[in-house]
Amino acid sequence: MLELEEMALVERPEKKKPLGPLFWLCVGWIALNIFGAIFANVLPLQNPLYQNYSAINVGPSLHHIFGTDDIGRDIFSRIVYGSRVSIAVGFGSMVIGFGIGAPLGMLAAYRRGRFDTILTTFMYILLAFPAIIATIAVLSFWTPRSVFKIILVIGLASVPLVYRVIRTATLSVATKDYVIAAKVQGAKDRRILMKELLPNIAPIGISFLLIGIATVIALEGTLAFLGLSVTTPTPSWGNMINESRTVLQQNPWLAIFPSLALCLFLLSLNFIGDRLRSHFDVTEVKL
């Protein structure tokens, strides 16, 4: 294959795959969801907590486009409000995870030596610790649960994972000759980190970030399903699916619409992350 590349080589061509319309559709979908989550208060939505006893378990109609739940609340409006929790937890905990894990990972891989050895050993021990059990355990004890606490716990739990991915990525870049060359030019460490390493790690980081957000949102859903996320009646996608299972036979809509909202959101995030990865020609990072 290398040979082929050489044959077509006067200028090495930009061999990027185009992102394609599906990619932009997914970006649009994510943007729409975030928009809905932020402006849910301002948008003409019904009160997600209002219980309309004259319309219990009704299917989709003009008035309630996704129908109502077993105590007469509007499912559509609950889904829009519910996205707030998912999106906040997804993005928030990744901000914490990356905020701590990424700089540490970069620094460790660049510095090497004892700093790297100690930090990496420590992180690997943490990684061996089943983060999900730890998360469930901490959240079960740390009541009352709030979005902030969930973000904090999941965020901290994700640090070792982010650290490992970023460190591995940095390591593969930091041993490249151009980094040594920059050192030889007399560049300071900070300059090397920002100008040489960061631009080459960013693509891996971004695609991992998106896939990480998706994973965290699914995790929040799981926690909610187990009754370990925000307390009811605050809607979240996971809460809603959890509530639906007692009336699964009477009102499948209550399960289907939040599930659909969650899956589409996750699918879009995963798809964007995956496309970006192949676009930047990053070999698959094992997550």
Binding site: I133, T222, P252
Partner: protein, 316 residues
């Protein structure tokens, strides 16, 4: 190799130590009067005093830890104040169920993922590969609690297959067909989550391996495609797969909990959630400890296998 194993075992001991410290302090994270919190409101003063003594709360914290760990090493995880049964007994009843689900689901996941990944890798970006990849990608985005709800909706409600719905767990001791039926949905749910990971990891590694020069070399020896795939490509490609399996089995626990919770299957997950809801903290602590150590051991086991599969790793 021996050096490597020794190093890993030392690390393993370190990790188990940290886990035990972590689980120990879970109890101490509780706000307010610990004994009251643990035993719940309305606990009798003598029970509180008993617990106080059991936890050795009057002694320095490190001593408390050593007393606690000493008890554990003697197989004593305490006795639940809610159900009045020893924690070890409760866990001992629940654990086999988890192991059975895990075993069935992993067999299923590998049995589907390996041939599919091989088929896909043979012609990357071909019709079959695209179909498989798109399918796995969609499944990647469906959390296990949705999978199980859909399965319940269709298999037990629509098709009405016995022993598959909620609260219909059949013990292995009684009727093994019924047991298998009641284990089918949980195993399938976990298998779906695992399959996606295994398929994707193995596919991308196989594609990379098949482009290696030693594969061309194997072809030039006149070996059949089948033989090349299984004897030459599979083993060097399976390192990441095994690594993923090790990590994934730990990750599956959350999904396992959900499934057990929804179907009322009395495994560790179900017991844990129940314990959380009844504030049975000693039981929670015991389960967290047992599951964490279990996950670490599984990871260790897979690491060990990886070393046998790829001799390059321990040499480094």
């Amino acid at each position: 190799m021996l050096r490597y194993v020794i190093r890993r075992i030392l690390m393993l001991i370190g990790i188990v130590f940290i886990i035990s410290v972590g689980s120990f302090f879970l109890i101490h994270l509780l706000p307010g009067n610990i004994t009251a919190v643990i035993e719940g409101p309305g606990a009798s003063p003598e029970n509180q005093a008993k617990l106080f003594k059991l936890l050795g709360l009057n002694r320095p914290i490190y001593e408390q830890y050593f007393v606690w760990i000493g008890n554990i090493l003697h197989g004593n995880l305490g006795t639940s104040f809610i159900s009045q049964t020893p924690v070890v007994t409760t866990i001992g009843n629940a654990l086999p169920i988890d192991l059975e689900i895990m075993f069935l689901s992993q067999i299923l996941a590998f049995a589907v993922a390996i041939p599919m990944a091989m088929r896909s890798a043979r012609k990357p970006d071909g019709v079959i590969d695209r179909f498989f990849s798109a399918g796995s990608f969609t499944m990647l985005s469906v959390p296990s609690f949705i999978v199980i709800i859909l399965l319940v909706l269709f298999v037990s409600i629509k098709l009405g297959i016995p022993h598959t719905g909620p609260s219909s767990y059949v013990s292995l001791r009684g009727d093994w067909i019924g047991n298998l039926e009641s284990m089918a949905l949980p195993a399938i749910t976990l298998a779906v989550g695992s399959f996606v990971v295994y398929f994707r990891v193995l596919r991308s590694d196989l594609i990379a391996t098949l482009q290696e020069e030693f594969i061309t070399m194997a072809r030039s020896k006149g070996l059949s495609q089948r033989r090349i795939m299984w004897r030459h490509a599979f083993r060097p490609s399976s390192v990441a797969l095994l690594g993923a399996a090790g990590v994934n089995i730990g990750g599956l626990l959350a999904g396992g909990f959900v499934v057990q919770y929804l179907l009322n299957i009395p495994g560790l997950g179900y017991t844990l959630i129940a314990a959380i809801n009844t504030d049975d903290y000693l039981l929670v602590q015991g389960i967290v400890l047992v599951v964490s150590v279990g996950v670490v051991l599984i990871n260790f086991f897979f690491d060990f296998i990886i070393n046998i599969v790829d001799p390059r790793i321990s040499r480094e």
